[in-house]
């Protein structure tokens, strides 16, 4: 279905977007505000969309982000999280020279934000990473009209249509019932996926303690502090082998085999959007793939482009060609914004 949106900007006299926001080797740079967005290099002034390490890097001079993102960065980097840190609530405008900046929820992980920049009647939204479906651990994405929408395309192929969370968590719960003697090891990304899996398990009625491998607990504590209840979480250390039978253990993927051996008959699960592709699940040795993604799937990406109504879309990272092709079919001018330093992780 082709929707003709023309190429009219919100204000006919507004400056062309590429004159005031630029793709540089250090990341997207907003010239009139002297501000980088998720810069890959140490910068004098940075706004950070969310706490994942490929977006939130250490060592900037002045850092602007939501309070939750700042807390997650402090957890990750300690005193390298940025010399001067300023928390900004969603929706509150901040004036930087001639530019007005606001943060809007992106629905990706706790604290994740889209950055809305207004300059002389021209509006750009840099969405960072986002998803559109409900997530009990973070605020839902808010679409807003703009002239340029900067989008990710991690799952930018029409094969990626993520199933319902409830069904995926249901698979894990069913497997636990079916194999009560086996430890269910669920591979998760430590920030975001971990807490979402826990929250979904709780919603699914699982109220037994959930075991956390080293490194996961601190982020969970931040979530709890920001009002996301996760129930009873226990450290893995000190638990006996027999005590782990039939339990859920969350860990970052790729634990080595000595580590694996502490579990009775481990059943290896993995929560990731990539699990949708069977060969990918198979080649990573996963017995129970759970298709749970914190990124927008194909339908969400395309729906978002229509919702924000931007005549122009810049695609940052992922499989941009298919999304650009599809945007073209919907009469949206889209182009790849090849940014360095963005990886395929945390999906």
């Amino acid at each position: 279905m082709a929707v003709n949106r023309g190429t009219t900007f919100l204000h006919p006299a507004a400056p062309r977007p590429e004159t005031w926001i630029k793709s540089t080797p250090a990341g997207l740079y907003c010239e009139p505000a002297d501000l980088y967005i998720d810069p890959t290099r140490k910068s004098a002034r940075a706004v950070i969309t969310h706490g994942h390490s490929d977006h939130a890097r250490p060592g900037h001079e002045r850092v602007l982000a939501t309070a939750a993102t700042l807390a997650l960065m402090e957890e990750r980097y300690g005193n390298r999280a940025g010399r001067e840190r300023q928390a900004l609530d969603y929706g509150v405008p901040l004036t930087l020279g001639e530019v007005t900046l606001r943060l809007l929820p992106a629905g990706h992980v706790l604290g994740s934000a889209q950055v809305v920049l207004d300059y002389r009647g021209s509006r750009i939204i840099v969405s960072g990473d986002y998803k559109r479906r409900r997530d009990p651990t973070c605020a839902a994405f808010v679409p807003e009209r703009c002239d340029v929408f900067v989008t990710e395309a991690t799952f930018g192929l029409p094969v990626f249509r993520h199933p319902h969370d409830r069904d995926e968590i249901g698979k894990l719960l069913r497997s636990l019932r079916l194999f009560p003697e086996r430890t269910h090891l669920v591979g998760v990304y430590s920030l975001g996926k971990c807490q979402r899996v826990i929250a979904l398990l709780r919603e699914g009625g699982y109220d037994a303690p959930i075991y956390l491998d080293a490194g996961l607990a601190p982020y969970c504590a931040v979530y709890e502090r920001f009002g996301v209840p996760l129930g009873r979480l226990l450290p893995l250390e000190g638990e006996s082998r027999a005590g782990l039978a039939g339990k859920i253990v969350l860990s970052t993927p790729g634990g080595d085999d000595d580590w694996l051996r502490q579990f009775p008959a481990p059943l290896i699960a993995m929560a990731s959007g990539w699990m949708l592709v069977r060969a990918r699940a198979r080649s990573s040795g996963v017995e129970l793939p759970l298709v749970l993604s914190d990124h927008a799937d194909w339908d969400e990406l395309n729906r978002t482009l229509l919702d924000v109504g931007a005549p122009e879309v810049w695609v940052t990272h992922g499989r941009e060609e298919a999304l650009i092709h599809q945007a073209g079919r919907n009469s949206i001018r889209a182009r790849a914004l090849s940014l360095v330093g963005f990886e395929e992780e945390g999906s």
Binding site: L157, P158, V159, F160, R161, P163, K171, R174, L178, F179, R182, D257, D258, L260, R261, P264, A265, P266, L267, I268, L276, V277, R278, A279, A281, R282, S283, S284, G285, V286, E287, L288, P289, R319, E321, A322, H325, Q326, R329
Partner: protein, 522 residues
Amino acid sequence: MKRFAEAIEALQRTVEPRARVSLLADYLANAGDPERGWALAIIAGALDIPKVTPAELRALVAERVDPALFAWSHEYVGDLGETVALIWPVETPSENAMPALAEIAEGLLGSTREEARGRLAEWLDGLDPAGRWALLRLATGGLRACASPRLARDALAAWSGVSLERIERVWHGVNPPYLPLFAWLEGRSREPELREHPRFTPFMLATALDERSLESLDPRDWCAEWKWDGIRAELVCSGGARRLYSRLGDDVSGAFPEIGEGVGDDIALDGELLSVRPGEAASREGLRRRVLRSRASASILEECPIVFRAYDLLRLDGADLRTQPFTERRLRLEEWYRATPRTSLDLSPLIPFKAWDELRACRAAEREPGIEGLMLKRADAFYLSGRREGAWLKWKRDAFTADCVLMYAQRGQGEAASFYGDLTFGAWDQRSLVPVGKAFLGCADLKLPEIDRWVRENTVERYGPVREVSPGLVLEIAFEGVASSRRHKSGLTLRSPRIARIRWDKPAEEADTVAALARLAE
């Protein structure tokens, strides 16, 4: 359809046999009739469904999806059916609106290929991605690879608590979707009555002879035969129908249509299928080619002749002979054999002997392919299904051994999830190693931790869960024989290979060659 899709998806991912049985039993407990019956038929490989070709599938998706988007997607996903299942452009319908497995199975069965193809789009529209994937696997024949009649019956037994033996007796007399079978297993009706049906009797099985116990046995109590190295089979004729059952009770009549012609109308024979060309030694390759096909073509009948070598008679003309002693059954078998004209069938001869030493000499001298040793049968033993201690004894000839070099290792699942116990080994061909077989080490095997450690320390490359190791570890492989194979690079496969021991002392260069193994080929 949603449940079925989830069940087969889980079955495909799961390797461990017990876990597979649990998964399927759980499905049977939760799915209703007639869906679970169709599912069971599919898993047992009992449905002959017309196939949709890859070209037809491409044509189908081209009507719905932009070609560029499809090309990028297919390149990324790899598998055609999976790409179509994922990309099929409809909103996920509600579970209630999805076509039921019964509708699909009946539709596929009752239609020509053209009709089946025509309805495919309609069904795809009604399903979610997992359902579409399952449908396409079914329609393209991709589920055949995971089909296992034994798994189906094991799951029935695990779910219902009724013994496998009783289920096997009934199984071949009921048809998909097996409603009377489920009704019986759930206690809603009596055992389905099977009149006039060539019914499978589970085989009587032998235990291995402990040679040290031989001297305590009286030779006069025993009969001896060759132990044939073919495929165990049961030929049953009853009520105008003829069936050939394999070891696990699968109906293999279609693959061996010539076996049993003219043997009469009420008989059950236990014996062995062997590939024998006149004037040539038995070859397992011919047998393998025959058994792979569910229907034998005229050309393969000609190329790979098979004989059924009878060695026991379970029933004849209304009389159940299983409660007769072996010698009595044998007499009746020989009598019948002399009196009946038949083709593709012969008799396994008895080996006369007075003392164990005579048999010992026989066993040592016999290296003919087609024979894997001796069978000792107690003269007074009834025919009892299952493994009966001390009634039938197998006395296999000594296994062959070869020194092979470990090439690849893969991790197992469950208890073995962290151990590299799935091993591929090779032999030398000129200066390179060529894989000749695979063997699996279970968790209980004491060699597992040692090999596992070695694999970790000597990995040169990783391909997903597989590690390639440097050629440095020699394994002594015991095996039953060598079959030539066109499917393997080495041109041969080892039969029943297992790891006898680790040859820490032996340098890899001194391992055996493919040529030496090939000389053992049948």
